[in-house]
Subunit: 214 residues, 2 copies
DNA sequence: ACGCGATTGTTAATCCTATCACAATCGCAC
DNA sequence: GTGCGATTGTGATAGGATTAACAATCGCGT
């Protein structure tokens, strides 16, 4: 342990944690890397190697304690605390996100909403008031904001990103269909179903309409 | 060219195409791998190598014709035609997707909606009628369905996936927070903002509240 | 208390991906 | 028309990531 951790490994941990949670809910107490691998479509060696970067969590001859491993992975990822998020852009998408229960239930709390449309500023969504972009610095100082969610049109995305970074936000979840540019200490995750589809079609196209091979 | 194409390369092509589209809209006619790389945060060598798998698209000393390269990449990806999609699960998310203009404008057309809730079956969303799951096979035979969108609760996800695969759908866009299992000829893309956030927190946690380094 | 089947943690080998570096060649200036 | 700065396409190289393989060791049954 305590080497440098490859980013691919970190990206797989939430998948492991999620599967362990579902196993836990089904009453499974212990699981081997072989079975977990089958469930997730990865090799057991990969699971063991990934976990070995962080410590020893299993028992030889037995496997992993589901509840314990899940808790450990969540701790490693920093999911044993609350993360505070602000949404910028309260249009159709922004509003949907603001009231999506899937974030809060995983410890991601939306604590502020911003927009630059005077018609929207001052309105409430759930129990939050939509604020002006002018208030961004002030609100960021009062409420701690860990993560900014970008939900504005593409041509406004970079500008909004710059403003969020300027007030100290170091994590961004970007829904706009653009590649945003940030200083090296800021982390970005993109959510773009269209881009996902656009790489899938390459393979759909190359296996003909009725070609089960490959 | 005509080697086996690494999947990572295919996944980058839509990003290139998207950036080229935005450059085109801004009136840029020609761009070098150096400048495109700067824009996207990748090395120019990577862009050139990626493209070299598919042919020669640039001019030495000059760079790439923006409009031409975009068209070529889109052709490679199979984006020079329409793709037909069916949404399964017309709840909050499914309804939002059904009326999201970002799919249609990129050639991804939603052609059918399915749900298993009698209260929803028969209602209309936009110009589509919500159909019963019993009609899935029939509709798939009539309308061609290239891609299935999974927008049902997690515990129903695998079941819905199996039904879609059974009627011949070979591409899936999965919004449910589960790892789905499919035969090898079926392609899957997951859209899960929570999983994205959960790997980001690892890095947010490890660079302290006021640590600009790394 | 001992042996055995199971399964981990880890080292070594393989495979894959990204970068480097440069010959080939383009357009333009003069 | 020649020379020069710019930029591509690619073979070689370095750097990562995945898989294979096995010694270490656990729990259980007797
Ligand atoms: N990734 C996805 O799954 C997904 C899905 C839908 C939409 N989108 C994208 O999300 C973005 C928003 O989509 P939408 O349908 O909600 O659009 P929308 O037009 O309904 O909403 C955009 C909102 O942003 C606000 N806004 C505009 N410029 C702003 C600025 N500079 N500062 C603050 N607020 C600003 C507008 O007032 C508006 O309320 C778009 O980029 C769209 O492409 C992504
Ligand atoms: N990835 C994302 O960005 C994102 C965002 C929001 C929700 N989600 C996920 O999408 C899914 C749907 O979320 P939602 O908020 O729309 O839930 P919802 O309960 O509002 O809608 C689910 C719909 O699926 C239908 N359904 C249930 N079982 C079905 C079955 N077996 N066959 C056909 N239809 C069935 C229900 O009748 C309902 O209409 C959930 O898994 C949720 O976690 C993902």
């Amino acid at each position: 342990m305590s080497e440098r951790i490859p980013e691919v490994v970190v990206r797989r941990l939430p998948i492991y944690a999620r599967a362990l949670g579902q196993l836990e809910a089904r009453g499974v107490a212990v699981i081997s890397s072989l079975d977990l691998g089958r469930l997730l479509g990865v090799t057991p060696a990969q699971i063991r190697k990934d976990l070995s970067y962080f410590g020893e969590f299993g028992k030889q001859g037995t496997g992993y304690d589901v509840a314990h491993l899940k808790r450990e992975i969540r701790r490693i990822l920093g999911l044993d605390r609350e993360w505070r998020m602000a949404i910028v852009g309260v249009g159709r998408l922004g509003r949907a996100i603001a009231s999506y229960p899937g974030f809060a239930s995983e410890g991601f709390r939306v604590v502020a909403l911003f927009d630059n449309d005077p018609a929207k500023i001052g309105t409430t969504i759930g129990d939050l008031v939509v604020r002006s972009m002018d208030e961004l610095a002030k609100v960021a100082a009062d409420e701690r904001i860990d993560i900014g969610i970008v939900a504005v049109p593409a041509d406004q995305g970079q500008e909004v990103v710059d403003k969020l970074v300027a007030v100290g936000v170091t994590g961004l979840l970007n829904y706009a269909p653009i590649t945003i540019s940030v200083p090296p200490h800021v982390r970005v995750r993109d959510v773009d179903p269209v881009v996902a589809l656009q790489s899938m079609t390459y393979y759909l196209k190359h296996s003909g309409p009725d070609d089960p091979a490959s």
